[in-house]
Symmetry: C2
Subunit: 246 residues, 2 copies
C-alpha cells in the first residue's frame, strides 16, 4: 500500500518481564499485548502503543503507553528502532518509533490485566497485528546480543539478589542453561556485583548470599544520557484505556 | 515550541569518511554538510536530509540523500536513532529518523562538492542548524563504543589493506595513538583479517603485507538483515539538488 498522504507517527513499546514458564517452571521472557478493538486486525493481539501526541516527547509517550497498559514504571526504557516499511500497515502509511522496557517480575505480577490486556511468553506468541511479530523478534535479538548484560539483568531484578536469581535472568535471555560454578566465576571476574554481607531471609539451611550492583562500576553513557530510570520529562497523569496502534 | 499539527517526518544522514587532518596529517573523521538556503537557520550548515517521501522506504530515502549530497554509495548504512524533541525545531514539530553511513576515503575524495556542500572535520564543526551538533555527537559516541570494530573499520577501507591502514582507522575513531606491535597482536588474535600473500605495490623496500577481511568470521546479523552494503530496496535515480531538513 502507498498513498500520497504524509506518513503518520506512532509510538509502540515492547515490554519484557521474567516470569516462570507455565509448563517447565523455568524463568522465561514474557510481554504484555493489547487486543485490537477496531480494524485493521480487529481482535488480534498487538504491541501497546498509540499515535504520537503532537505536544508529547517521544519517551514520555512511550512511558505513558507502558503505564496505561500495565500500571508499571520501567527500570529500563530505551528507544529500540523505528519501523516504517511501506507494507507494514494497510491503508495510510504509519511509521512507528518503538521503545523497549524491562520490568521486574515482582512488578509484572501486580500489573493490571483484563480481557483486552494479557501477558504472553515471548517465544510462543500468536499471530500479531501489523509487523509486530517481526518487531518482537528484533527486540529479542537486541536483548540477546546486548553487551551490557549486567545492566540489562539489573533491570529485571530488585536492589539485592542471589547469584541464582541473576543466573535465572541470563538463562532466560540466552535460552540455555548455564553452569552455576562457571557463571559465578564469570560474574566475579567482571566486578559488576558486590556481596552485601546479607543472606536471603526465610531460608533456614545455608541461606544464599545477597548481592547488589557495584555502582562504582560505571557504564558508558551516551550523550543522550542514562537510559535506566524514568525519562526526565514530566509524566502525564491522565489515564487512558490501553491503546494499540501500528 | 509546540502546535497541534501532526508531527512531520524527515530523514537525515550522518556520513563519516576518514581523511588526513589538514594540520597534523593524521587520519581523522570528516563529514559532509549542506548549507541551508532557507529559513529557519538560513546560511547555517546542516546534515544532509529531506522530508520522508510518502512512497519511499526509510533506508531508500537515506541512501538517496547520501547519493545526492556526495555522489557516493556507502558500504555501511544503518539507522542510528530517531530524534523528536519538542524543542528541536522552531515552528512545526519535525521528527527526524537519522541514518549513518561510513564511506571510504578514496571515494570521499571524489565526492562532488560545491559552495553549498562541504566536508568538515567531525571534531571541529561550526554551529549547525537545529540539534545537528547534538546528533553528530551522538553518532561519534556510537561509533566509538560500537563493539563490531572490525566491521566498522572495514567500511572505511578497500578490499585489501595494510595493518598500518587498519590502525589508522582505529586511531581516527578512538582519537588516540595505538602501539603498532600491540595492535598487530590484537588484530591477529581476533582472526578477523587474513594475510592475502600480496604486498603493497609501488614500495621498493620491504613493502607491507596486504590483508583482507575473513569472510568466514561471521558477525551476528539481526533479523533486520545485513547493514553492510546497499539496502535491498531499489535505488531511485532521479537526481535532486542537495537538501537539508530538520
Amino acid at each position: 500500500m502507498t498513498d500520497l498522504h504524509p506518513p503518520v507517527l506512532a509510538v509502540s513499546t515492547v515490554i519484557f518481564a521474567l516470569r516462570p514458564d507455565v509448563e517447565s517452571g523455568f524463568m522465561t521472557l514474557w510481554l504484555p499485548l493489547v487486543r485490537r478493538t477496531r480494524d485493521p486486525y480487529l481482535g488480534l493481539w498487538a504491541l501497546p502503543g498509540g499515535w504520537l501526541p503532537p505536544e508529547e516527547e517521544l519517551s514520555t509517550a512511550a512511558a505513558s503507553t507502558l503505564r496505561e497498559t500495565t500500571g508499571l514504571s520501567p527500570k529500563y526504557l530505551e528507544q529500540l528502532y523505528t519501523f516504517g516499511d511501506l507494507s507494514r500497515s494497510p491503508g495510510s502509511r504509519v511509521v512507528s518509533i518503538v521503545y523497549w522496557a524491562l520490568v521486574q517480575s515482582t512488578e509484572a505480577d501486580l500489573a493490571a490485566v483484563d480481557e483486552n490486556v494479557q501477558w504472553f511468553p515471548a517465544d510462543r506468541l500468536p499471530e500479531l497485528a501489523f509487523d509486530h511479530n517481526h518487531i518482537v523478534e528484533y527486540a529479542l535479538w537486541r536483548l540477546r546480543t546486548k553487551v551490557e548484560y549486567s545492566r540489562i539483568a539489573h533491570a529485571f531484578l530488585g536492589e539485592t539478589f542471589t547469584l541464582a536469581q541473576l543466573r535465572d535472568v541470563h538463562e532466560a535471555v540466552l535460552r540455555r542453561a548455564l553452569d552455576p560454578a562457571n557463571f559465578r566465576r564469570m560474574i566475579e571476574s567482571t566486578g559488576t556485583v558486590v556481596d552485601t554481607g546479607l543472606r536471603l531471609a526465610g531460608v533456614p539451611h545455608r541461606p544464599p548470599r545477597l548481592y547488589r550492583y557495584n555502582d562504582s562500576h560505571s557504564i558508558a553513557e551516551g550523550p543522550l544520557g542514562s537510559t535506566v530510570g524514568w525519562p526526565e520529562t514530566p509524566l502525564q497523569t491522565t489515564p487512558h484505556s490501553p491503546r494499540s496502534t501500528t
